[in-house]
């Protein structure tokens, strides 16, 4: 069965059953592997993408629900997004496996709240698990990218 998906501004014809999770179509069919599999039950956020600008878990999004919507993945964030620049500046990633999802959640946050408070960050980012525990740097990078003073110094003295 063929479904048309609009991903990162490009139309893709996908041959998969309608209930197939978007995650596996992105990763296995379209080779957009920046979006990660972490838990499969929308608990970890590693698979986060945007549907019409909203952060969703692609592991729990059947492709039929994404049809006709604007899908954005980490590949579509552009590479020069202020958050990506801040991520590199703060050396946020450790293993890095969760970071695509972290960036997609953070970019959806900044799109609606350009100057998020700590509470806003907690609310928007608590669905994204980082087992390496890079949370402090994620917070600092979000603050930095949104033109706010980063949280207290993280680096070694």
């Amino acid at each position: 069965m063929s479904t048309t998906l609009n991903i990162n501004g490009q139309a893709y014809q996908v041959d998969a059953t309608p209930e197939t999770p978007l995650l596996w179509v992105l990763r296995d069919e379209l080779m957009l592997t920046g979006t990660k599999y972490g838990c499969g039950i929308a608990q970890c956020g590693a698979c986060t993408v945007h549907l019409n600008g909203q952060a969703v878990r692609s592991c729990q999004t059947p492709i039929q629900a994404a049809q006709g919507m604007k899908i954005t993945t980490i590949e579509g964030l552009g590479g020069t997004h202020p958050l990506q620049t801040a991520w590199v500046k703060h050396d946020v990633p450790q293993c890095g496996y969760c970071q695509s999802g972290q960036l997609m959640s953070a970019s959806a946050l900044l799109a609606t709240k350009p100057k998020p408070t700590d509470q806003d960050i907690d609310d928007a980012m608590s669905g994204n698990i980082c087992r390496c525990g890079a949370y402090q740097r994620i917070r600092a990078a979000i603050k930095d990218a949104s033109g706010q003073a980063p949280a207290p110094a993280a680096t070694a003295a």
Partner: protein
């Protein structure tokens, strides 16, 4: 050192004769078939001649001027690559912005971890092991460039300078980039003993310039993990495993699974039944449709509560076992009369729960094996894979990828998931690539946990309240079952208790441990023995200090003085000073202190803790670390931040419980982990040191549990006797 001193082969104009001569000497040092003496020699059997293109197996310098450092260690997030590259760049005086890092091939003869005897990463050894090796490699390469320039320009060696990959002779104003001098290196003999820099002359090491090289790839979704490997004609497999440890396949019905579109084959392998499909989703659906009946004849059927009850019986003398004596001092028989302080701590099973669940890609063609995955102990993965197909371990090729976390999980003596993948790829045959994917549920219920542990402690104190006699019993499971060459007793079970300055400062010590056997598979988990010994020692010390009416920091200082533990003392003082130890806090907030040495690194932490709805909430953590020479300061800080989150996650919530032998937690909904809103703010301070570097990946993890427990002792007056703090 011979092995690293080779001239460039690719992309340069090296004279063939000379090159051949050097490569021959390389072969002698890194050769394929050697009569085994060390483990490295035996396990490298079948290894191809190492490729010494460039300046040996650790450094390659290309005509475009880029310096490539080969990392024989696994990059699993700990950032070792930054430190390793900086060590080379420092001694080589290379342009840091033109230094990159690549994973080394699997070849124990060349790339063995000198602290392990096999090629592998663990025990926070990457920097410690490679420190001298890479300094010498960098210094030797630098000396060759200097010699080449000296010869070319007819200038004395001592007048030649090197900076940012440019060799110059200031007196004559001549200069040349490394890349321009490459052709001349063929005529240069590497120095037998290269001169190393004095640490005071380091300009890159310890500077803020030493940063990760992979942040960009990891912030753009372009970093390649095992999960992302797509090879032509590749199949994807999932395996149905026994719900109970030790269970085996009694029978299976694959009819429905084979009906699932995309499913190619269903095959029984030693650990279960594999469904092989064209993609991940089909493999998952096929496995869901598979019906397997299991034999539990040899399986573990006890619940974790029953296992712990058994440990209590052993520690309490109700069950007779043969104890392993790990430390004794003085006359223990008569030292425990009268008033004795007694305490006990119980620790649950812990899953590593890496963000990237276990996976592997294998191609098997006859006895030829190629693996593409995040191998952590390449030599053992080669050995275990070779055994399956009848190949010499050294002939198993591994392309090592970065891991989406490991925390010890991927360093497995039995190569569990790797072996599964090789079995399936062997069945598929013809060299067709097979990617084995474990779901989160497979990963979390798949064992190789931090074992359950019971510590029981009895202490007789002297008139000043310091320990006069210390009896310590540890009951747990080995973490290294299946490790070639491992002894009967796993020393990691008591590391951190055995080596503790507190026991050193105690005149009478009676320390014994027992390792119970059990089908539940166990493994090292970030900081290994310290995951429980740090809690047992540090929380006990605070209880003794409170009992003696002494400040816990002062109480420790006295014991460190008695034990001669100067590094512990320095770390404690730095952490306390930065944390404002002793200064007032808002009502309802308390500080907890812990100090612990693991893997040669001493860490002190002060945590500020409040109680929120009965559960501890950690705000600020001040961390002091002595890891010798600090190479990548920002990455040391990152490891303290991350290690504290990892340890706090387990301390607050971490527990795999077994019901009738079956793990009750299957995903992140049941196995709760630390999230953004619960993460503390960590400040890291590094104790200045000129000692050789030790590790930073693990030592930050084990202290946060006792630091929080010690703060709770202040807040509630009650000791913590089991983890996690928050019961399910």
């Amino acid at each position: 050192m011979n092995a690293i001193l080779k001239t460039p082969k690719t992309g340069s104009r090296v004279a063939t004769a000379t090159r051949r001569g050097l490569i021959v000497s390389a072969t002698a040092a890194g050769g394929a078939l050697l009569i085994g003496c060390s483990m490295g020699d035996v396990l490298s059997l079948g290894a191809r001649k190492p490729d010494f293109s460039g300046l040996g197996p650790f450094i390659r310098i290309d005509p475009d001027g880029w310096v490539t450092v080969f990392n024989k260690h696994q990059e699993m997030g700990q950032g070792n690559h930054a430190g390793l590259a900086a060590i080379v760049a420092e001694e080589l005086d290379a342009d840091w912005d033109k230094v990159r890092i690549e994973a080394a091939a699997a070849n124990a003869k060349v790339y063995a971890n000198t602290l392990m005897g096999v090629q592998g990463t663990g025990g926070s050894t990457a920097i410690a092991n490679s420190w001298m090796q890479l300094r010498q490699a960098g210094a030797a390469a630098r000396a060759m460039f200097v010699q080449a320039a000296s010869t070319r320009w007819g200038a004395p060696v001592k007048e030649i300078a090197v900076k940012d990959s440019v060799v110059s002779h200031p007196a004559s104003g001549r200069s040349a980039h490394f890349s321009e001098l490459l052709p001349d290196l063929a005529r240069i003999k590497p120095p037998a003993k290269p001169t190393l820099k004095q640490p005071k002359d380091f300009t890159l090491i310890g500077s803020d310039r030493v940063r990760r090289k992979d942040s960009r790839a990891k912030s753009t979704g372009t970093q390649r993990y095992t999960q992302d490997v797509h090879l032509p004609n590749m199949l994807t497999a999932m395996v149905a495993h026994s719900p109970r440890f030790g269970g085996t396949v009694a029978g299976f019905d694959a009819a429905a699974a084979r009906q699932v579109p995309g499913v190619v084959d269903v095959v029984q392998i030693p650990t279960g039944v594999a469904v092989i499909a064209h993609n991940t989703y089909a493999a998952r659906q096929g496995r869901d449709a598979l019906k397997v009946t299991w034999s539990d004849e040899k399986a573990e059927k006890r619940s974790s509560d029953q296992i712990m009850a058994g440990y209590r019986d052993i520690a309490g003398g109700k069950a007779t076992v043969k104890w392993h004596v790990f430390q004794t001092a003085g006359d223990a028989a008569n030292a425990f009369g009268g008033d004795v302080f007694q305490t006990a701590y119980e620790f649950p099973l812990l899953a590593h729960a890496t963000m990237e669940p276990m996976n592997c890609v294998a191609e098997v063609h006859g006895s030829k094996v190629k693996l593409t995955f995040a191998s952590q102990i390449q030599t053992l993965d080669q050995l275990n894979s070779g055994l399956i197909v009848g190949a010499l371990p050294g002939s198993v090729e591994i392309e090592t990828l970065s891991a989406g976390g490991s925390f010890g999980r991927r360093g497995n003596p039995t190569s569990d998931y790797v072996a599964e993948c090789v079995h399936i790829a062997k069945h598929v045959g013809g060299g067709r690539p097979v990617k084995l994917v474990w779901t989160r549920e497979d990963d979390m219920t798949g064992g190789h946990y931090r074992p359950m542990v019971l510590h029981t402690i009895a202490i007789k104190t002297d008139k000043d309240g310091y320990p006069a006699a210390w009896r310590h019993r540890v009951v747990t499971q080995s973490t290294s079952k299946g490790l070639p060459g491992a002894g009967a007793f796993d020393p990691s079970a008591v590391e951190g208790t055995k080596d503790s300055p507190y026991l050193k400062a105690t005149p009478v010590v009676d320390g014994q441990a027992y390792l119970a056997d059990c089908p539940v598979t166990t493994l090292w988990w970030r900081s290994v023995g310290a995951t429980h010994t740090a809690m047992a020692m540090e929380h006990t010390i605070d209880q003794l200090a409170h009992k003696a009416g002494k400040d816990p920091a002062d109480y420790r200082r006295e014991l460190y003085r008695r034990a001669g533990a100067t590094r512990h003392l320095a770390a404690l003082d730095l952490a306390c000073q930065k944390a404002g130890w002793g200064q007032p806090l808002p009502a309802g907030t308390a500080r907890g202190l812990a100090v612990h040495e693991s893997f040669g690194t001493v860490v002190a932490q002060v945590a500020e803790v409040t109680l929120k709805d009965g559960a501890p909430k950690v705000g600020r953590v001040v961390c002091a670390i002595d890891c010798g020479v600090a190479i990548a300061r920002d990455q040391i800080a990152a490891q303290m931040e991350g290690g504290i989150c990892y340890g706090l996650s387990a301390a607050l919530y971490g527990a795999i419980t077994l019901k009738d032998g079956v793990p009750e937690q299957t995903n992140f909904d049941g196995y709760r982990v630390l999230r953004m809103n619960e993460a503390p703010t960590v400040e890291t301070y590094i104790v200045p040191s000129a000692n050789p570097p030790s590790g930073a990946g693990e030592p930050g993890t084990p202290l946060i549990a006792p630091a929080v427990a010690n703060a709770l002792l202040v807040l509630t007056g009650k000791p913590t006797t089991s983890l996690p703090f928050v019961k399910a």
